[in-house]
Symmetry: C2
Subunit: 342 residues, 2 copies
């Protein structure tokens, strides 16, 4: 991490409280004038995090105009789109329109990009009052500016895929990259993915296969998902169980795997994942609903000698890998495309 | 994990709700009659988890008699000592007084043992009304019986150390074992421990040294701890910073380490740990105050290519390793002994 300074992390944009990192800050300076190491993006679309959008809709009783004014007020007062209740943000899409001479990100004016760091730490200014948005969708057409710091990540959108597909894939691109890396480093032969029919799940199966895993099991919640995953051909075996029921997971998986990847976006999947993993094996948790304490105490309580990883959304090369897996696997496309069309 | 069955995990002792694992259960059957694969312990002492004891004391306004009757009521109604508010338990000490013929634990009648699985999943019956306990200490002299399942862990107490020392060391024995393993597997040369003057912190430093780490940094919260850790000689370098202030941690540590071990029992130590770790390095979180979301989003937001591990309290050989580190390191003894005497 040589060369990292507080400035590279954007601390100079923090207005309150002083000294905080941007993600933890209450308020950022979203001034569109950039510093020498910054990049400015002309915003086209903001994708709200699903949990954030749900909370906003519920608190506004489904009134789209109220949701819109709430979002505008958050961005105006905080200088970023971070839902104060859920703490979550989302990502955005736009075109690079200014690059400081010292920016290390390798972006050029005119590049169409998606930000891969959270909106919770991205200085954002909205200039069109979100008038093209009805407040009823996570996808928010928007005009304005966003700032990237020296230590940020943005992916250039590929010309061969629709934006909506690229965003859907990039949104979860940390999971396949980390799955591939852990599979390689641990030498895992057998891999089980919990929540295998979802976006991160199917990409993780494809990633494990691509680096040589041989016995792939996909666990899904019902027969509809099982039929879709079976048809996609990404797993050697598809099993159905409630991922939050540890004994049901263990029974469905049968022989424990060297590596278990948790892509179930629900609480209480930790113990099933641990039980479904061989002694000496590894569990990677990608679900943000994962409880640290449940994982730690569960493994100890079951005398499970498993290595448990906090899924890191950042692995070098993650965006390109995920897009490539989408392009190369008809099965991945078959599972992801219907979600994009929704 | 071959041969693991629901029974080995103690599911047959779960009264409510059916099918749950013992830790998640509301109520266990604490019947002292053992099955063929179980072990019964004659209880001598129960150590309440610090968070649990604090909650009990506060809710009873410091009235020891009320704390005692609350604990008795919990054990009577739940068949285990799991604080319903904190969800936590503790550990216990006693003598093996019955071993089923099919128990795989290797224990013999008469062994004095400490349980290394949580009280939250240990069937417990109290028979002396805790009359020797004043309700004012985490250490509870007690008579009664506890049950170990086939897949449990208990450490035989060594004859050469006082019980209180063994318990203090065994309470945190997962940390040094995992630190040693991660240091070896990752080939880490430089290791930083946050919260280095505490029990798990000083043992982790000693463990890293024992397996060949060379550049050891101990981060502590104040000059008193710094003096104690410096005198103990366990670290090559002792630095002082608030572990919950990311930039302060990064500044104090300076050059990032290959491995950072978090033993700070406070929330919000995640981002400092990530910043203090080299790209490609590893962070192990042992603090139960760790937030999964803070770790995952923090690493992504800072584009930190770090492997983050959930500290697993169980690693094979962990008890013997920790006791051995205590015996062999005067510095470890100097830091732990005063805590035992308290």
């Amino acid at each position: 991490m040589e060369g990292t300074t507080a400035r590279a992390l954007g601390v100079h944009r923090v207005l309150e409280p002083a000294g905080a990192l941007p993600q933890a800050a209450q308020r950022l300076d979203a001034d569109p004038a950039i510093g020498p190491d910054e990049v400015r993006i002309a915003v086209e679309r903001v994708n709200l995090d699903a949990a954030s959008f749900r909370q906003l809709s519920e608190s506004c009783a489904g009134d789209g105009a109220a949701v819109r004014s709430t979002v505008l007020e958050i961005v105006r007062t905080r200088g970023k789109m971070q839902n104060p209740v859920t703490g979550s943000g989302g990502m955005l899409l736009g075109t690079v329109d200014a690059v400081g001479p010292a920016s290390p990100l390798g972006l050029a004016v005119g590049d169409r990009v998606a930000t891969l760091v959270s909106l919770t730490l991205t200085p954002l200014r909205i200039t069109d009052d979100l008038r093209r948005w009805d407040g009823r969708s996570e996808q928010v057409p928007a005009e304005g500016t966003a700032i990237l710091f020296a230590r940020s990540i943005a992916a250039v959108l590929p010309g061969d895929l629709p934006d909506a597909v690229s965003l859907a894939v990039l949104d979860v691109c940390g999971a396949p990259a980390a799955t591939a890396r852990v599979t390689e480093r641990s030498g895992a032969r057998s891999v089980t993915v919990l929540g295998a029919a979802g976006k991160s799940g199917c990409l993780s199966l494809a990633a494990a296969r691509a680096v040589g895993a041989r016995r792939l099991t996909g666990l899904v919640r019902d027969e509809t998902e099982a039929a879709a995953l079976t048809a996609a051909g990404l797993a050697d075996r598809v099993v159905v169980a409630d991922a939050t029921d540890p004994l049901a997971v263990a029974a469905a998986v049968g022989e424990p795997a060297d590596l278990t990847v948790v892509c179930v976006d629900a609480p209480r999947a930790e113990h099933g994942a641990i039980l479904a993993t061989a002694q000496g094996g590894t569990v990677v948790f990608f679900s943000m609903a994962t409880s640290f304490a449940q994982a730690a105490l569960g493994a100890e309580g079951m005398a499970a000698d498993v290595t448990m990883l906090v899924g890191n959304g950042y692995t070098p090369g993650h965006a390109a890998l995920a897009l490539d897996l989408y392009r190369r696997n008809a099965g991945v496309r078959a599972l992801i495309d219907p979600r994009v069309a929704e």
